[in-house]
Symmetry: C2
Subunit: 149 residues, 2 copies
DNA sequence: GGATTTCCGAGCACTGCACTCGGAATTCTA
DNA sequence: TAGAATTCCGAGTGCAGTGCTCGGAAATCC
């Protein structure tokens, strides 16, 4: 797979592959564990790389792993209780267009000015992105054809 | 200035500095040209680096440059006719969380599946981000205290 | 005991970011 | 007309993150 050209607000393959993986797990929810091998071949993704990503998702408490023959992964909770935001944040880091808009840390730095005009841009962006991502659950995405408003 | 830690949907200093620069130009709109030196010292940004960024903005038709003593830059059009989206797109590239959501190219690739569930996530994001950025003009941002909903 | 599968750490090539530097070309002012 | 100011241009550098691969240990099932 390739690296992507320069684009703003780009989600790297970490987020993309991770999302595909999680949707796949959601589709097999309550059907026992799913091996990475199965996911990788279904989604046509590099298995060894997925291993890295799923490790992060496990540490974030989004999936459970079970070792050994017949083992694999399952979602740690109901698909309706996991959002796209959870996944993106786990794999790509917190949603903060700029440092001065750190999530949960409302009035952090902006060293030079208190009310720099540009801050409004990043604050707006941060909330707008977070709302969009946190509003979509795996349950929604696991449906065959999705139409999000 | 530093590089930033890993965050999702991160705007690099290109976008950040560029926005500060453009807001500064907007504040001095119709007061003649503004030299990069002035902007750099007012905004506390590395002048040589700004030079690179402003070159891109000029090629994108957002600013005009005038050489020589007393020269400098001016916005190429009225602040109300330049949006945050214009600036970000010029400096950081098009807004496309994933390739399959390329702006203006609605149903591009998504090689494997037509209706992959995850696509909905990136499509929604793309439009949500674009709307937010395209809805803010330099005229808005140039005001002293900004409160965007 | 052997197959399967998760878990873990290391390593590597490539790209973009965040700058700096040196030097041209242009324009104003004294 | 000299010189200062300023844009314009291309090259180069160090660092960090991306997108992988590989080898091997530990667990679990048959």
């Amino acid at each position: 797979m390739l690296g992507n050209p320069q684009t703003a607000f780009h989600v790297s393959t970490r987020g993309e592959y991770g999302m595909r993986l999680m949707v796949d797990l959601a589709r097999h929810w309550q059907q026992g564990t799913v091996s990475l091998h199965a996911v990788a071949s279904r989604e046509d993704l590099p298995e060894a790389y997925l291993e890295q990503l799923v490790a992060v998702l496990r540490k974030a408490g989004l999936v459970n792993g079970k070792r050994g023959a017949g083992g694999g992964y399952t979602l740690a909770r109901d698909p309706s209780a996991i959002t796209a935001g959870d996944i993106v944040r786990a794999l790509e880091g917190p949603i903060e267009p700029q440092i001065c808009t750190a999530e949960g840390d409302p009035v952090l730095n902006c060293i030079r000015e208190q009310d720099c005009g540009t801050r409004a841009v990043w604050v707006k962006l941060q909330s707008t992105i977070a709302q969009a991502l946190d509003g979509m659950t795996l349950a929604d995405l696991a449906k065959e054809k999705v139409t999000v408003a």
